[in-house]
């Protein structure tokens, strides 16, 4: 049994350490190393941020800290020790006893991790009652205390609800409560806010930070977003291809990164576009309203897009921004209002629009995985609009396919590949080439970079900007990411619950004074300075007090 006094020791020896950890995964029948000799230590109350892009091995390391490896993976060497005990040398039943009680885990998607058929209270207290040695009543009291500490509404009755009755941000905090209930020594947070909107993310970050400080646990915080980890962690380790490229105190990593890779993690923030002059109007959306059944998704929306201009449409999920994009492309009919393109009124649906009009407005989707037919080769994907709109055949078509692939910075030899044989960034480039094949004047880009890693995002954004200079295309850029807006927009439109809250040139919208919602949205975007979250917390307290 552990004594309470032990838990109060500051500094002192490491409670958790990883030494030269190597993990292999079975890839195509062979074992390949995916974690290549990682070492780090954690003292009590210390938070380590693990940053890296998809496939860097972050989650694999997070699971290893729980003494677990995924199916198809194995430990190839090294030690993971918790309070001096080698986890992988201990039998499974010992490790299982530690999990949930001494070492806890908070997953990315709380919605997928909770059992939808059970009340939150039963799930939050389960580990404490079954393995933590708490009685049911005691565990419930602890849970209520945690719900309060995590600023959940109605902490006394919150646990009586089912997972679908609470919001995503609340569910994520309930999961943090589940992790904290046995007062563990170590918590692994695996991208706990990635699936949330920015304004919700801030609330969760505040709650989690408070809880970590109050209970003095050590934590490993895994994320791909350096700005978030800057708020949470005392130390940061930057991972790439299963290796730590740089490790150090948060301030040093942010202000004085030694490795060029670390800098590339905020690549999108480094792009800057010149504000353009006002150009002739290409598209005008006039007082448009739209419904899904009885639900109104667009309410009296008006905006304009000029030639060779980028308009960024910003808002949270459910704000109606994608619907507006689909409406412009003719995929959703408006209830009232009109869309005018190049001075001519657009019929409401694809089937009533002329082929010429369809050609001039193209749309690119968020996920190139589902936007490209998996059974068509790149040649067929790009070639179809060429023959469909321009009647291109034979060598002509072949030559144009090669040109388009070069335009999106892909090797013409990719023409024979299937989408499954391309990386995420390459697929999105093919989708862009397909849109360009039509020679469009306006491209609706629906969150096209949000599923990609930072460096890939930055490359694609830079490419879009240079394409605009070369070809004079206008973009309607739908996004929830303010860094992307800063990088490429000329004009910004902010949407909230189907209405436009604010619009204007980028410089005006992004600098004060703001309408209330824009203020909330902008202040919720994490900044790359370590004191940002504290400032937001104190600002909002002041606001609440006033």
């Amino acid at each position: 049994m552990m004594k309470v006094e032990d838990a109060k020791v500051e500094a002192g020896p490491d409670i958790f350490s990883v030494e030269d950890l190597r993990i292999e995964a079975q890839i195509g029948g062979r074992w390949a190393e995916i974690v290549k000799g990682i070492s780090f230590q954690l003292k009590r109350g210390e938070v380590l941020g693990l940053v890296g892009e998809s496939g860097a091995g972050k989650s694999t390391i997070g699971l290893a800290a729980l003494g677990n490896v995924k199916q198809g993976c194995r430990i190839a060497g090294g030690r993971v020790s918790f309070r001096g005990q080698d986890l992988f040398a201990s039998p499974e039943n010992i490790r299982r006893k530690l999990r949930g009680t001494r070492i806890a885990y908070v997953a990315q998607s709380a919605a997928a991790s909770f059992n939808p058929a059970k009340r939150l209270m039963d799930q939050v207290t389960e580990a404490a009652v079954k393995r933590g040695g708490q009685s049911k009543a005691e565990a419930k009291r602890n849970a209520c205390r945690l719900f309060r500490a995590l600023q959940l509404p109605d902490p006394e009755i919150f646990g009586d609800r089912y997972p679908h009755q609470v919001s995503g941000g609340q569910l994520q905090r309930a999961m943090a409560a589940m992790a904290l209930i046995c007062e563990p020594d170590l918590i692994v947070f695996d991208e706990p806010t990635t699936a949330l909107d920015v304004t919700t993310q801030v609330e969760v970050l505040m709650a989690v930070r408070n809880a970590i400080e109050t209970f003095g646990v050590a934590a490993i915080y895994i994320t791909h977003d350096l700005a978030i980890v800057a708020q949470m962690a005392d130390r940061i380790a930057v991972l790439r291809y299963g290796e730590i490229v740089e490790q150090g105190p948060t301030n040093q990593i942010l202000e004085n990164p030694r490795h060029s890779y670390t800098r590339s993690l905020w690549a999108v923030r480094e792009i800057l576009t010149e504000p353009s002059q006002k150009t002739r109007t290409l598209l005008r959306v006039d007082r448009v309203s739209a419904f899904y059944g009885l639900l109104q998704v667009l309410d009296d929306v008006s905006l304009e897009i000029g030639r060779a201009e980028t308009v960024a449409l910003v808002g949270e999920s459910g704000s109606g921004k994608s619907t507006l994009g689909r409406l412009i492309a003719g995929l959703k009919e408006p209830e009232s209002g009109s869309v005018t393109f190049d001075g001519v009124s657009c019929p409401p649906s694809v089937s009533t629009r002329s082929k010429e009009l369809l050609r001039r407005i193209q749309i690119i989707y968020q996920s190139a995985d589902t936007a490209l037919n998996p059974r068509h080769t790149v040649r067929k994907i790009i070639g179809r609009p060429l023959s469909f709109y321009h009647g291109a055949t034979g060598e002509n078509r072949e030559a144009r396919i090669g040109e388009l692939l070069k335009l999106v910075e892909l090797d013409p030899a990719f023409a024979d590949r299937l989408p499954g044989q391309l990386s995420g960034g390459q697929r999105q480039r093919v989708a862009i080439a397909r849109a360009l094949a039509a020679n469009p004047e306006l491209i609706v880009c629906d969150e096209i970079t949000s599923a990609l890693d930072q460096i890939v995002q930055a490359d694609i954004l830079k490419m879009l900007v240079s394409l605009q200079e070369k070809l004079g295309i206008s973009y309607l850029f739908i996004t929830h990411d303010i860094a992307t807006v800063k990088a490429i927009a000329n004009h910004v439109v902010v949407m909230h619950r189907g209405q436009i809250v604010e619009q204007g040139p980028k410089a005006d919208v992004l600098s004060p004074p703001h309408p209330e919602y824009t203020q909330l949205l902008l202040s919720s975007v994490p900044e790359m300075t370590s004191g940002w979250l504290d400032k937001v917390i104190s600002d909002r307290r002041k606001l609440a007090a006033a």
């Binding site: 694809v350 369809l358 037919n373 072949e398 024979d416 499954g420």
Partner: protein
Amino acid sequence: MALSSMWRQRAADATRPGLLATIRRIPPTAWFGFAVILLYGGAALLAPWVAPYGENEVVSQTPFAPWGAEFWLGTDQLGRDFLSRIIFGARNSIGIALVTTILAFLIGGTLGIVAATMRGWTDQILSRLVDSLMSIPDLIFTLMLLAIFGSSVFNLIVIIAVIDATRVFRLARASAFNVVTLEFVEAAEARGEKLPWLVRQEILPNILPVLVSEFGLRFCFVFLSIAALSFLGVGLQPPMAEWGSMVRDNAALISSGDITPLIPAAAIALLTVGVNFVADWYLNETGGLSHDEG
């Protein structure tokens, strides 16, 4: 030209090692299935040369002659060579079943994908029509239609194909629905593509694995229904050799301990097993419903 043919060459190179690896991965059950199908196909195509006697040639004075050197499997109730009739029966039974299945897939598959793509009223009307057809017991419905239209080979094929097309419709519609919701179909719609392109180019390639493996199973069912109808005397009419009617005509032998009438039945069973092995393998190989691999 030179450039494009070079690319095509590269595409061919890329697929070759894949094909070899695929062949090496074929399990023994599928090899067995292929062998059975090959054997039956050979018998069907080469019947006049392989069979010792003609299809309707009365070669023996004694009906129900026993097995022997002259007539390997004996003779039937009219004194025709049993083995020859089994070989010719393969030609009739398999040929008709194949044509029927293809027709059922053309009708059901096309309508199913169209219903999923158009949605709305088209889907409602087609689906409810199929529901009502499916609510009538198969065999009784077939018997009734055959009684009305008369039992010619043509009628038999059309009636069984239409009834079987209802099952194909359901499957095609359900799997096409999974694909229709994906963005590449919407992207094609936004481009201005018309229905035939959406059905043939965007949706069909993605549900083909399911349809092909269902084709194998459906073929067996059609085969069995034709045999069942022939056994009842309303399928293929004498003197055409057909396995189902051969079982019926010689059934009396069973009571005297002769297993000859079971041989056409076994032939049906063996083909069913073989075709299913191959269909199983194909479903595994192509990943069935999943369309994320490519």
